[in-house]
Symmetry: C2
Subunit: 383 residues, 2 copies
Amino acid sequence: MKIAVLGFGTVGAGIHEMLQKAEGLEPGPVWVRRGKADEAWKTDDFDRILADPSIDAVAEAIGGTDPAYGLAKRTLESGRHFVTANKMLVAEYGLELQKIADRSGAAFLFSAACGGGVPLLHNLALARRGDEIVSVKGILNGTTNYMLDRMQTEGLGYEEALKQAQALGYAEADPSADVSGLDALRKIRLASAVAFGILPDGCLHEGIENVSAEDIRFYQSKGLVLRLIAKAARTEEGVSAHVEPVLFARNAAEAAVSLNNNLAVYEGRFCGRIGLSGQGAGRYPTASAVIRDLESILSGARRMLPEKTVRAAADNGSEKYRCYLRLTEAFAGLFPGAERLEQSTADGSLRLLTKPLPADRMHAAAAEIRKKGGCISFAALEE
Amino acid sequence: MKIAVLGFGTVGAGIHEMLQKAEGLEPGPVWVRRGKADEAWKTDDFDRILADPSIDAVAEAIGGTDPAYGLAKRTLESGRHFVTANKMLVAEYGLELQKIADRSGAAFLFSAACGGGVPLLHNLALARRGDEIVSVKGILNGTTNYMLDRMQTEGLGYEEALKQAQALGYAEADPSADVSGLDALRKIRLASAVAFGILPDGCLHEGIENVSAEDIRFYQSKGLVLRLIAKAARTEEGVSAHVEPVLFARNAAEAAVSLNNNLAVYEGRFCGRIGLSGQGAGRYPTASAVIRDLESILSGARRMLPEKTVRAAADNGSEKYRCYLRLTEAFAGLFPGAERLEQSTADGSLRLLTKPLPADRMHAAAAEIRKKGGCISFAALEE
């Protein structure tokens, strides 16, 4: 099977390199932006790829939705298989692209868009057909895991941890998509689509920007380890989907995820809890996920989205958790029945442990407090 | 796709139940031993299954090699797909069954034979085609992990831990295959066949029978956690394959594997280290692995053994590790340069930390000491 690669950045170059050796796969031309085709095997003319009957599949690693969306559409309309590492593309246009693939009989796979090298989506897609998936959750952003790991093992503050992550190339110059939890949220939305056939909208994300070195010391004094967790689960109304800092016991598998590693755990009614870990980003881990998708096309795989997958508003009102809070004292009344723990020394704010409350209530309260000029840092308790 | 199930014990009944709901799969008759066909959908006549053209596949959960081998052969010769949870069958006859499957075009898959519900073999088979697998290792026996976990968290001795495991149904009345490491070795041999195309013979296994409560306390005093690890790796000469107790730092992923859970980790040149965890045994986890194999046949999968897989003697002379030893003092000279740590109180034996030595030297020394009436307990250091 001959594969054209779109994009020759970090991931695209990795895919092109791995194609040289992969069983049954063969590298075709690499598409690059206008004027960047500086080698005979590169082209900036997508029509040439579509006109070449020897090309069976296209692997996309451009990122963003323009021109990726147009090229994806044209690839699938031509009956060629399309594999992508692009979570924005799939979250935005995945359902539409699946319909085109269904019509033309082409494969549409996107393992690398969620969890990088961690084989989450592929396994979810297989498991859900014979089992009933109850939940999918995990550490899906390596940048923030690296930062939290440094904060907890070296006592670094948020800013220092961010600088270290940037120096190592784990965080971008503008880290906002990572540290706000948005990147992890995009990934868990795709996992939800694959596991439940529902691509949830209106999901909630709290990142790690409000986690201080003092918060970490407090959690450590309770024997707890902090991780940024993305979670999607079946509810009576549909699916929940949210991202927030979560506290684990020191002997939990999540606590053992160091540096920029990822860990995803899905739970099936029959199979129980299955954990999958590895590198969530980087040239070769991400490229290896693309290559696995291509190999599984060779074995006959055609889709990972269930038939009749729909978009629907997330239901974040059912699942409840207790949270540790540090907040401006004036807002303590928003959490009736919460246990008062200590007066935080640095800024005089309070620490509370709430009663179990729904995820949407917790996120809404945090938004309200910040809107009114107050401070809040929260972390859910895994129990 | 209609599936006949062979055997109606714990796993067979689980498969039959899951088939009622799995997408694209349909339960056929269940084959049981002569005289046990007490329901209309059971039969003790395998000819009836072969004579039924509506049956596309057979899922075997009898265990052992007789009559499983004969039934497997006849299934594959008839062109029907064959899926099994039977590690003895695959270790003994897998290469021969694969040849029959190749001739008839049928699928031959055996995910459930290694790791139970943990999707190790399926992922290895996919990964190895586009990557170069360097090693596969992990906690592949839930019984011994449960026992080691109890010994380390509750301070139980070996005998008490075994009794608890038996009371919970995790260990059999005759636990020797589990506690000797033989069960884990059988599984890692299958993983080696899938990852490297080499089914290794002459492998080494040290179990947990010689691990005392005092050993555990000593390891804990060094901040180390003990696990029984099966490992296969590429070497210059072929592949290594051995099982032994291994010591990990407290924050290692292996240390977080509690109770009777399993964790397998494979390392690829490109994908890096991928971890897979879950329940390694039990009705539904094992049945769910069989169902995943059947679903992947529906998507086009036909094999997990690489073409030209061979049997070959394991090469356990290349890989080296340091070991903690407790041994009868008279045999200390077998480990030149080893560091003397303490005189063990209970029986006056010595504790040593060896220099790095090859796995086959360590296992041979232990066999020699025991043959001569001495005692030894050893654990390799993960470094």
